[in-house]
Amino acid sequence: MISVAANALGADSGPVDISIDIGARLRKQGIVTAKLTAGARSAIWEIVEGISFQLGEFVDLIWPRDTGLSQADWDITAEGLEWTIRNPREYAGFVHRKGDTALVYLEIAARSEELLRGAWSQIKSAVETTTPSTSGLLGRVGQFLLPSIVGQAESPAGTLFQARAAGFLRQNTRSRERERLRAR
């Protein structure tokens, strides 16, 4: 949703709010956001914080500066399942480059959608890997086993699990003997 308030500068001007309701998009895909675990919410927040940083960098790159006031007013942050992207400056929606009528906030809106599309598989994966897919014991067992499946590169929890598991592995006598002979 893009919302730009009308003011004296015309209909397509005023403060800009191009925030994205991630929860609503998940629900559109049949995900019951009310059932998301705290871990899933936190994982989504981390992902959205990451793309918030990238969007902020994009803003710093393309936003025209005269006094710098409207650039400093961009508020881009993850708040729960909401990606807040707004600029309360009263003329933010009117900002354009010198000699160009194209409104710059529209580029930011397009970039935000692009970044979200790029991160969507991560968000879906966060939902799927941290939310029990089945109820009852099977679901809990699935969650418990998860760290060893996702592997070291993708999850610090996986690393921890693997390290602990290694501590419990014992070689049988014949393997130990073979290794000892090889070492000589």
Partner: protein
Amino acid sequence: MSDTLLSVDVEGLQEAIDNASEINWSDLTAALSEGVTDFKSRMTTGPGEWHAGYRVRKKDGTGLSNYYVKPDHKRAKISARSRRGWKIRQRGISAVLFNDARDNRRNFYAQYVRRPGEAPASAGELGPEASRAFEVFEEEMGKVAEKMIASLMGDLGGS
């Protein structure tokens, strides 16, 4: 975000609140709102504006470089990332001002911002730019307190 929390001792305000026969909350809220907005404007346009560094455009067009360059670098572009980091959250007569600027490693760094040639602050200490910002904040909050005291004493004509 750094957990550095700074507060200002606004002399006389508590006494004025204690002695007020009537408190016009909207006057107090407006005074605070004006003060925090003025603080943020000063961080952006001065006097005492927050330092803005220069970076160069990344080749892929997705943003600015991770490193800073001198202002006279031929491709220098003002960054002002940590100026954009200043945020205000106000509810009634409570307000929080913070700077959530992060670097490419996603570390909060506003506390350590310094101008070229200035000595860096040690870990946990307030850097030179943050110290200056705090002085501006103290000054603006002093003005807010004056307006609040005037309202509490009935000098603003509030009901």
